[in-house]
């Protein structure tokens, strides 16, 4: 079975970390990921940019494009895609194409991406 593990934390607090602190935390993550990769249990890994870099698409009679993250609480996270696009305009077009049956899509640039090392290839 493939599982997705989603990370949550206080963005303001994380954003206030010094570069050294951030690097230390990421290095710790890296070590733990290597353990999973060694057991061939690791799929793709991504670190997202802050929500200030996000753009949200909301379905309606016409698709609305809004600055900022998805902030409603009545919908739940159901899935995600990783796409490779040259610009925000291009990814917005791609996302509009993925808008099939209601809901919202949050577009978030990926800061760091590591392709699958074991599981989920």
């Amino acid at each position: 079975m493939l599982y997705a593990i989603l990370c949550y934390n206080d963005e303001t607090a994380v954003g206030s970390w010094s570069k050294e602190k951030d690097e230390a935390v990421m290095a710790q993550h890296g070590e733990r990921l290597r353990v999973l990769a060694g057991k061939r249990k690791l799929g793709p890994v991504a670190r997202l940019m802050p929500t200030t870099a996000a753009t949200t698409l909301r379905d309606g009679r016409e698709t609305l494009v809004l600055d900022g993250p998805f902030a409603e609480t009545k919908e739940q996270l159901l899935g995600f895609y990783i796409v490779d696009c040259a610009s925000l305009d291009e990814v917005i077009e791609a996302a509009k194409g993925l808008m099939v049956e209601g809901g919202a899509l949050e577009i978030r640039p990926v800061l760091f991406y590591q392709p699958p090392e074991g599981a989920g290839r």
Binding site: D10, T12, A13, G15, S16, W17, M49, P50, T51, T52, A53, T55, V65, L66, D67, G68, S87, L88, D89, P109, L111, F112
Partner: protein
């Protein structure tokens, strides 16, 4: 992370929101700060025992408000205090507070707090000092070090600023759209000023300077989280990120400034550049250009060039032309002339620069650029005169040394002079 470090990070991140809300209740900066301080002390006592609250900001606002009200009551009635029992049924109260303080309230609270710090009656240096003290929570000692002044002088500066604000009339009603726009642009200007304070000065402790830049970025992000759809706020954040990305490459081992085209681009922070470029993309979608967006776009063109010779100078020339239209200034035209020289040669650039001699007759960079353009045209004698004026106007030994380098090259009548700015 240790428990104390976690609490410290949570208190820092909740600070602008909490003090902003307390300021709305008490309409007095000192009372709001004291109430927040008291709430922090209680947090340090109770969070390790009870665990962290769901919404630290809401907790701090509630506890801060209650403790300040207790002080008022105690002063007026000399009554016995209901000590810590305020904290006992806090869970329900906390949820209630969260429900009441919706996002738009928080937004105006933080904006008001920031706006008070850059009140037009305060000189720029007081604005920055006050914002660092009140919003960022830096100690007076830390701020004094950043500005290279004594602690007591800085203490006085902040006290004076607070007194001026108390005397000035700051409206506490929810601002209308025009007031909000006006506040936003004043706050953006203050954040930009704070960044430049850290970015441009060559003297002082490098680490302190860098932390000023980082603090400015933190405030810009805070503002952007509150005003996600404001292209100029997006642009400002992008601009700061793209400029700060070059911080490591800007100074050599002796602390001298390294020019953009001589910088080791491998030292540029790629993460900050990626985020800055993503934000520029976001801002431009609005098709509502403003000075911060255009400056960010110029920084983005530089950031995209892996080598100096890959720089798209035609794009930079066009962007400076846009900036001239939005914010006409001889300094902007001077910067544009450098791009024009790179894109179209020294002749049109010199034609652009010559009329600026009047307004910029006391400006070091004007004579540096003029001398450089004259050198490129082979007019060495005139170039020498311009460089001589530049040296006389240099503010730091590093600036003068840099111009002397140009003069030496002239003496050798060497080819391929370098851009002075």
């Amino acid at each position: 992370m240790t428990e104390l470090a976690w609490i410290d990070a949570a208190l820092t991140s909740a600070r602008p929101q909490a003090i902003g809300a307390l300021l709305r209740y008490f309409r007095d900066l000192d009372t709001a700060e004291e109430a927040f301080q008291e709430a922090c002390l209680r947090a340090l006592r109770t969070w390790p025992i009870n665990g962290p609250p769901r919404d630290p900001a809401a907790w701090l606002i509630l506890v801060g408000r209650n403790s300040a009200l207790d002080h008022v009551r105690r002063r007026s009635k000399q009554e016995e205090l209901p000590s810590e029992d305020i904290l006992s049924n806090l869970e329900d109260a906390e949820a209630e507070t969260v429900r009441r303080l919706d996002d738009s309230h928080y937004r105006d609270d933080v904006l008001r707090l920031l706006f008070i710090c850059c009140h037009p009656e305060l000189p720029a240096t007081q604005q920055i000092a006050l914002a660092l003290r009140v919003v960022s929570g830096l100690t007076v000692k830390e701020i004094a070090r950043a500005f290279l002044v004594g602690e007591s002088a800085m203490e006085q500066r902040i006290t004076r600023a607070k007194r001026r604000i108390a005397a000035a009339d700051v409206p506490f009603e929810t601002p209308g759209a025009p007031e909000r726009a006006e506040r936003l642009s004043a706050v953006a200007a203050m954040i930009y000023l704070l960044f430049n304070e850290g970015y441009s000065a060559s003297g002082g402790d490098v680490h302190v300077r860098v932390s000023l830049c980082e603090e400015a970025i933190r405030l810009a992000r805070l503002l952007l989280r509150l005003f996600q759809g404001e292209p100029e706020v997006i642009g400002l954040t992008a601009l700061l990120l793209l400029q700060h990305a070059r911080a490591k490459a800007r100074l050599d081992s002796e602390g001298a400034i390294v020019l953009l085209e001589d910088q080791d681009r491998g030292l540029w922070n790629r993460d900050l550049i990626a985020e800055g470029l993503a934000l520029v993309d976001k801002a431009l979608r609005h098709r509502r250009p403003g000075p911060y967006q255009v400056q960010a776009a110029i920084a983005a063109v530089h950031a995209r060039a892996t080598r100096p010779e890959d720089t798209d100078w035609i794009a930079i020339d066009l962007l400076y032309a846009t900036l001239e239209g939005l914010q006409p200034s001889p300094v902007v035209t001077l910067n544009r002339a450098v791009a024009v020289c790179k894109a179209r040669g020294p002749e049109p650039a010199l034609r652009m620069v010559e009329p600026l001699e009047g307004p910029l007759s006391g400006y070091f960079h004007f004579f540096g650029v003029k001398g450089w353009l004259l050198t490129r045209l082979g007019r060495d004698d005139e170039a020498r005169i311009a460089f001589g004026r530049a040296i006389a106007l240099a503010r730091t030994p590093a600036e003068a040394a840099h111009i002397r380098l140009h003069l030496d090259r002239l003496a050798d009548s060497g080819a391929g002079a370098q851009a002075p700015a």
